[in-house]
């Protein structure tokens, strides 16, 4: 089993003719994912590595089932693309684009809620269920992706796309493997937070433990701590906290847009304290994550 996507998931890529999206198309095809089309206005009739291109999302949704869309358009066009996907009835929208102002993010997140759609991202690399499908560029070239993401029992959620791969790789090398890994995005407001994805992992029989990557800034870790206390979840959770050096440097900007510290509760020290109080084990090094999970999963 897996969450969000499986071997039958069909999807399109909005902005498919962009440079990075063209490589992503090659990589997801090589991985065996069912990418059935792409959208770039004015490019109808072309193809990218054999994937047909249309001017609109509806051109696809009117003739076949489309489970998901990957939005990989420049920031100025991203909000429009997300609204188009939701309005066309797509229920899972994964937004790769970074640098979208949070007002616009909050607008399409609210619109998605009204339409029963789920958003992953923005500023993420996508979702992968090893051996089944990958929706988005997470992992890069197919061969390297297969090595880093081996099928297994750990659900991964990460505010950093790159660290999604790094942590999954460590779990794969340790023999635990991945059920589903979600690059949730590095922005201050994102479509799906740890706590919002946890019920899906709790309901997934393949998932036996959770690894998360977290950073300074925002309420996501506090929200996860609250979830772990109130939900009765049985999954062991191990968190890695990066950016500890930032606690001593208020007012400076490092890393993702979402790392901006806007209050005392946003610091790594405070987050670690809250998570530990809720039974989440916090790892100091990446290699400790599989070790701690093995102690609990057996």
């Amino acid at each position: 089993m897996s969450i969000l996507i499986d071997e039958n998931t069909t999807f399109i890529i909005q902005g498919i003719t962009g440079r990075e999206a063209v490589s992503m198309t090659r990589e997801v095809l090589d991985y065996g994912s069912k990418v059935i089309g792409g959208v770039t206005p004015g490019r109808k009739g072309r193809n990218v590595h054999g994937v047909p291109v249309e001017d609109t999302v509806r051109a696809f949704t009117e003739r076949e089932r489309v489970d998901a869309s990957v939005v990989a358009v420049p920031p100025a066009f991203a909000t429009d693309a997300v609204f188009e996907a939701i309005e066309a009835g797509i229920k899972l929208v994964i937004i790769v684009t970074e640098r979208i102002p949070r007002k616009q993010v909050a607008q399409f997140v609210e619109y998605a809620d009204q339409h029963g759609a789920r958003i992953i991202g923005p500023n993420c690399l996508g979702v992968i269920s090893p051996g089944k499908s990958r929706v988005g560029g997470v992992g890069g070239a197919a061969e390297s992706t297969r090595r880093a993401f081996q099928p297994g029992v750990v659900g991964v959620m990460s505010r950093s796309g790159g660290m999604t791969v790094e942590i999954s790789n460590a779990l794969s090398e340790a023999g635990l493997g991945i059920s589903t890994a979600v690059s949730i995005g590095g922005d201050a407001i994102i479509g799906s937070t740890y706590a919002e994805l946890m019920p899906l992992f709790d309901a997934d029989p393949a998932t036996k433990g959770i690894a998360i990557y977290s950073e300074p800034g925002g309420q996501a870790e506090a929200q996860l701590a609250d979830y772990m206390r109130s939900s009765g979840s049985n999954l062991p959770v191990v968190a890695f906290m990066a950016g500890r050096f930032m606690d001593a440097m208020p007012g400076m900007r490092f890393g993702h847009a979402g790392t901006i510290v806007e209050g005392r509760a946003d610091t790594t020290a405070e987050k670690i304290e809250r998570m530990e109080a809720a039974g989440i084990r916090v790892a100091e090094r990446i290699e400790d994550i599989p070790r701690f999970l093995k102690e609990r999963i057996g």
């Binding site: 949070r102 007002k103 950093s160 950073e215 847009a257």
Partner: protein
């Protein structure tokens, strides 16, 4: 990016929020002129990007021009939480009957903006929230529905304000909401709003933060406030090294190779990307290393960009070696990074085998990358060596330098 009080007040003035008369002064002489312009007793407030001005003695009172001049000379010499003053706002002194608090900010959990209002302004709002929750309201509003003044009215009314006070306070809060939404603020705060003896209201102090990502969208506003592009509004102004780093990144649009922050250590870091850089910087420090810089590379930057960043880091006095480390990469090509960084080291006049303490960029195109590194005798590791272990090896090599 934080606005100074005088800038935030200019934004409020344009939004028709009533304000006390004030004039910005950069020198004691200007403050003297400003005080006579304003007329009567004045309050002199240091313009710094930090709270805690009163405690630091950076807010003073004067009865006339000569007093304003003397007080300003003192204020300009006071740093507040390490922040240098850029001037003094000379403002007419008003007798206040009651103080209110109003702010609009993002609630990251609800993913909506929230209006926070209190009839106990002027004091620490966190304290009001904890000790007098009935005096504080939180009112979320939609990002999709059209902005409407009733949301401000609800926020004000919820703490018990009614009668003749409800209208003017609603108008001030509604104007604040409009500024917050239209100008992509992450915080728009007026604290306090003062109710004067004659029953009218004025905004006495204001704090605004604009979202960094939206600076481009509001270039018109920033220009009209006299804020130049290179004014980063960080905790300290950028160093020459950091400005040079921004130029490297802006040289072409492919990927990121920059976001440099200067530190005073001897180990130069070429690290990436967003989360990887935070992890690796911590890892170097945990291993006892002294980083010369923080930086971020990612999103598949060009060979030229990686080379330019490498040369810049090596040009920093006191940098003995560089450590090149990333998480397992997806869209960045390990071979292009290897080529760019080796090129940068050679162009800076050094031997890559000697200058590069460790190279760890596993993932896409790593075999091609390893071939380049082998040719130049650079020590590299693959993904079987963890980020923390790679950082520790780089730090260990520094022991002999």
């Amino acid at each position: 990016m934080r606005l100074y009080e005088f800038e935030a007040k200019e934004v409020l003035r344009r939004a028709r929020v009533p304000l006390p008369k004030s004039v910005m002064a950069r020198t004691p002489e200007e403050a003297e002129t400003a005080a006579s312009e304003v007329g009567g007793p004045v309050v002199l407030k240091s313009q710094v990007l930090s709270g805690g001005r009163m405690k630091a003695g950076a807010i003073k009172f004067a009865e006339d021009g000569a007093g304003a001049r003397a007080a300003t000379a003192e204020i300009l010499g006071i740093t507040v939480n390490g922040q240098q003053s850029v001037g003094v706002l000379v403002e007419e002194r008003r007798d206040v009957a009651q103080e209110y608090y109003a702010a609009v900010t993002w609630d990251g959990r609800a993913k909506r903006p929230v209006i926070i209002f209190s009839d106990m302004g002027g004091i620490d709002i966190e304290e009001v929230a904890e000790q007098h929750p009935e005096h504080l309201s939180r009112t979320h509003f939609s990002n999709l529905a059209p902005l409407s003044d009733y949301q401000a009215k609800v926020a004000v009314s919820r703490v018990g304000v009614t009668g003749n006070d409800l209208g003017p306070l609603t108008r001030i809060v509604a104007a604040l909401v409009k500024v917050f939404v239209e100008r992509d603020m992450t915080l728009a705060e007026i604290n306090p709003i003062g109710k004067l003896a004659d029953g009218t209201f004025v905004a006495l102090d204001s704090h605004m933060d604009m979202e960094q990502e939206a600076r481009g969208t509001h270039a018109d506003l920033l220009r009209s406030l006299g804020i130049p592009d290179e004014d980063t509004r960080m905790a300290r102004p950028p160093t020459e090294f950091e400005i040079a780093g921004a130029k490297v990144n802006d040289a072409d649009t492919r990927g990121v190779a920059g976001n440099i922050t200067e530190f005073d250590g001897n180990l130069g870091l070429i690290i990436g990307a967003g989360g990887g850089s935070l992890t690796l910087f911590d890892a170097v420090r945990a291993a006892g290393g002294n980083p010369a810089n923080y930086c971020e590379i990612g999103g598949n930057p060009s060979v030229a960009k990686a080379a330019a960043l490498t040369k810049l880091v090596l040009s920093k006095p006191g940098v003995d070696k560089i450590a090149v480390m990333m998480n397992v990469v997806s869209n960045t090509r390990a071979d292009m990074m290897a080529r760019g960084i080796v090129k940068g080291v050679i162009e800076a006049g050094y031997d890559p085998a000697e200058k590069i303490a460790i190279f760890r960029i596993p993932g896409s195109w790593e075999e091609e990358g390893f071939a380049i590194l082998r040719k130049y005798g650079v020590e590299f590791v693959d993904r079987s060596v963890s980020m923390h272990e790679a950082a520790a090896r780089a730090v260990a090599k520094m022991a002999g330098t």
